[in-house]
């Protein structure tokens, strides 16, 4: 078993956060090396280092046993290391052929683009990707997202890659496209190309992987030949021993139904399909699922940001028919969105203005803002949620991720909701802040709120939720109570195609 790429004693610090802690990782030549771990475990950071876009704080990288200096993506490419990112980096306004050759166009006479040659080579690549029916002149923006992903892979195939890193390439692919991708990976393996494959989908990577490496909290915790492992072992390694030490379990008595959703259906590329659920007072309900399962879309529909074509939303026993953000807010719902920067914060405003944004109309006397009331209200919330700030007038962007999240939470709480909708409330914040947010959620449930939250982390959803709903392809595929939930059941249900498959 020849190793081709070795990362030795790699550490990486971002400010005070240690993203990687003394990691030694080996990728074997001509094999598919799978990397697994939860969000923030350090997989993507290591891949950025191996592909030259980040530099390690300490440690060294060996290529074919020789120390290698990979100080830019270009340098890594020159050594035959290619990467396919989770986010697409294609030009939707250009054709397939133009995309494949973007930045390294074939030339004719040294000056002109050899469009014919590019088209010919593009056809070969498309054939290799099982897409021979695609015209190389098709605009990439007109392709469905799965085919776009394949074009991205095609770009790397055109280069002379020896090591190909793929960061969750299947999250947007249909089953058929996944099959095609795995065939391509098989071909690459036969051509002695080394594949490093990051994935969350246990059922998928077990099909294709030769080696599996598990990351947790910035450390490499296990490295094993795939044939010697099973799903339970991998999940156990991912989650670690004792998630309960980090999260606070809600143990409040459960009261009346506060939120009832019946048959909610929203069309779209990521759809919500006939979803029904209930949240009671004092209850913490988790929604687990993979990216693109429709969880965020469900939350946004509940909050009135998307229009359903069918279904009702009932809050405190009363149907809310209007479905605008204002109406849903008045009915008692409040959403803390997944992407704080995009949907939560107004970056140009102060901490105080961000906290008061949704309820600013209540802070007036005679039509004008009462600065005193603003100051007092914002200060109270800052104290209540223990938000660490340099001052109420400081720009909200000067806070850490966890404290920014609390600012958005404070704003939501000021609208006096009865049910809090939290979309990945602990995403992108450090472990200490995670545990604080979890504590707040349990505390809010104890105060009689209903809490509905989305999580992609098994340990988190299992440790915090009284009930876990699993979503896949827009549907709720399974429901578990805290007593009967297991990691394997969650993973199985989240990969399910239909309700029937999940209940078996």
């Amino acid at each position: 078993m020849a190793e081709i790429l070795e990362a030795r004693n790699i550490s990486k610090n971002y400010g005070g956060v240690r993203a990687l802690k003394d990691v030694t990782f080996t990728a074997y030549r001509g094999q598919v090396n799978v990397l697994v771990g939860e969000n923030g475990a350090g997989k993507s950071t290591l891949m950025k280092i191996l592909s030259g876009s980040e530099q390690p704080t300490s440690g060294e990288i060996l290529l074919d046993g020789e120390p290698a200096q990979l100080d830019s993506p270009r340098a890594a490419q020159a050594r035959g290391i290619g990467i396919i990112h989770q986010e697409l980096s294609l030009f939707p306004n250009l054709s397939i052929a133009e995309n494949l050759f973007a930045g390294r166009e074939l030339r004719r006479g040294g000056l002109f683009v050899d469009a014919g040659g590019q088209r010919r080579r593009a056809r070969e690549v498309l054939k290799r990707l099982g897409q021979e029916r695609l015209d190389p002149d098709t605009l990439v923006g007109d392709l469905p997202i799965g085919q776009q992903q394949l074009i991205e892979i095609g770009r790397v195939l055109l280069e002379d890659v020896r090591v190909l890193i793929m960061d969750e390439p299947t999250s947007a692919l249909s089953n058929h496209e996944v099959d095609v991708l795995f065939e391509v990976m098989g071909d690459l393996r036969r051509d002695d190309v080394t594949v490093i494959y990051i994935s969350h989908k246990l059922d998928e990577f077990r099909r294709i992987g030769d080696w599996v490496t598990v990351f947790r909290d910035g450390r490499l915790v296990a490295h094993e030949s795939m044939s010697k492992t099973d799903t339970g072992w991998i999940v156990g390694q991912m989650v670690g021993r004792d998630p309960d030490s980090l999260y606070v379990r809600n143990s409040s008595p459960v009261g009346d139904v506060l939120l009832e959703v019946r048959g909610l259906t929203v069309p779209g590329t990521v759809k919500v399909d006939d979803v029904s659920l209930r949240v009671r007072a004092g209850e913490v309900v988790g929604i687990y699922g993979l990216m693109g399962a429709g969880r965020t879309e469900l939350m946004e529909t509940l909050m009135g940001m998307r229009r359903p074509i069918a279904g009702n939303v009932v809050v405190k026993g009363a149907t809310e028919p209007k479905g605008t953000v204002q109406a849903r807010m008045a009915a008692g719902l409040a959403l803390v969105p997944e992407d704080r920067q995009r949907d939560g914060l107004v970056q140009t405003m102060s901490v105080r203005d961000n906290i008061l944004l949704a309820t600013i109309a209540r802070m007036t006397r005679g039509g004008l803002l009462a600065g005193e009331a603003e100051q007092r209200t914002a200060k109270d919330k800052v104290g209540e949620l223990a938000i660490k700030i340099p001052g109420l007038g400081a720009l909200v962007t000067s806070l850490s991720g966890g404290n920014q999240q609390k600012v958005v939470l404070a704003r939501a709480l000021l609208t006096e909701p009865v049910v809090l909708l939290l979309d990945e409330p602990t995403r992108g914040i450090d472990v200490g802040a995670k545990s604080q947010i979890a504590g707040l959620m349990a505390e809010l449930a104890a105060q009689g709120f209903g809490v509905l939250f989305i999580s992609s982390e098994l340990a988190e959803v299992m440790a915090m939720a009284d009930r876990v709903l699993v979503m896949a392809r827009g549907r709720i595929t399974a429901e578990f109570t805290a007593e009967n939930v297991t990691e394997e059941a969650l993973v199985t249900a989240s990969a399910a195609d239909s309700v029937l498959e999940a209940t078996t």
Binding site: M303, M305, V325, Q326, M329, L335, P337, R342, D343, G344, L345, V346, Q347, T348, M349, S350, D353, L356, L357, A358, I360, A361, M363, T364, G367, L368, L369, I389, P390, G391, L392, G393, A394, L395, T397, S398, L399, S400, R411, T415
Partner: protein, 360 residues
């Protein structure tokens, strides 16, 4: 220059801070200077021009220049509301022209009914002119929110439509005499543009009132906070229950009303209404807002900054005329000042984020 004061908060100042490096202290000083740059530039302009020409700093010249500033400042204040939400209004010059013709027509010809002609009092005429501007603004707002036309395109289209409407109003002609007659009860239109109260032109008083009202609205009302929120992050504003479309329509209405008021002042000053009134004034208005630190991306800027920007542009133009610089060079200098202003704005953002990172 933002409404969010980022000055070192008390709690950090009290916290034990490691020895502040000199570069940080320098940066603080630089930031202070850059933030107050519009004022600094204005002072420098006054010093330079008054040293060249003894007439520059005389009371009569200052009053005259301020009167010129007033009209652009009122246009620019309206445009600032729009730019704060992340939009743009290119139609303000044309709206000013249209309001001018609407008022001119009412004063000169009256309103013709089948039964006869009705003349309105000057106060009514002014009100009708401003409402006309507000309505055109409302159309802009509806195009942008309901029909999702990009603000640049919607208001560029309106620039032509409103100018054309102004020309159609008189078939391209001028309403030459707006003095009115006692018999018709419509005298006194000259008051707002040509008269003075306490030695200061009425137009300047009106600018002061409009600026004061705009400052109160932007800084002291929920609506003002919503304007900044919509410009700072529209998605977050939607999720916070802000009716973003209403806010947007409202700012175009405000911009249209301000433009109409500016047009009426110009018309009153001239004593005649002609359809090309205020042509290309939209560019001066946008320039004043940008000079005053309003970010075209939205969410950042102040009314007071815009007024200062209008003063810089006005005092610069009149100063260049006074010292005898050719109109060609005037144009070059004005353009260069605007570009430098935007460059320093970016320097301010960099310094600011640099310093907040340190204090965080």
């Amino acid at each position: 220059m933002t409404n969010t004061d980022v000055a070192a908060p008390a709690s950090t100042a009290a916290a034990p801070r490691p020895e502040e490096p000199r570069s940080t202290a320098l940066k603080r000083a630089a930031l202070l200077l850059v933030r107050g740059r519009t004022l600094v530039v204005l002072v420098i302009l006054v010093i330079i021009f008054s040293s060249i020409s003894s007439e520059y700093l005389t009371q009569s010249n200052l009053i005259l220049m301020t009167k010129h500033v007033a009209i652009n400042a009122i246009l620019a204040i309206g445009v600032t509301f729009v730019i704060l939400t992340g939009g743009i209004d290119l139609s303000v010059g044309s709206i000013a022209g249209l309001a001018s013709m609407v008022a001119g027509g009412l004063l000169f010809n009256g309103l013709n009914f089948p039964g006869g002609t009705v003349f309105f009092s000057v106060a009514m005429v002014l009100l009708i002119g401003i409402v006309a501007g507000a309505l055109v603004g409302a159309v802009n707002g509806l195009l942008i929110t309901r029909l999702k036309v990009a603000p640049f395109i919607a208001t560029l289209g309106m620039l032509y439509v409103a100018r054309g409407a102004a020309q159609l109003h008189s078939d391209g002609g001028t309403y030459p005499d707006l003095a009115g007659t006692e018999a018709r009860g419509n005298t006194g239109f000259g008051f707002i543009g040509a008269d003075s109260v306490l030695g200061i032109p009425v137009a300047v008083w009106i600018m002061v009132v409009v600026a004061a009202a705009a400052i109160v609205v932007t800084t002291k009302t929920p609506f003002g906070k919503r304007i900044y929120a919509v410009g700072g992050n529209e998605r977050a504003a939607v999720l916070s229950g802000i009716r973003v479309n209403r806010v947007k329509i409202a700012v175009y209405v405000i911009s249209g009303a301000c433009a109409a008021l500016a047009g009426l002042l110009l018309t009153s000053e001239l004593g005649a209404a002609y359809p090309d009134t205020a042509t290309t004034y939209e560019l001066n208005a946008i320039a004043a807002a940008v000079l005053g630190g309003t970010a075209l991306a939205g969410g950042r800027g102040t009314i007071i900054g815009t007024v200062m920007g209008a003063f810089v542009i006005g005092f610069l133009s009149d100063g260049l005329v006074l010292v005898g610089v050719s109109t060609f060079w005037q144009s070059v200098v004005k353009g260069a000042v605007i570009i430098v202003a935007v460059i320093t704005e970016q320097a301010q953002q960099r310094l600011q984020s640099d310093l907040t990172r340190r204090t965080a």
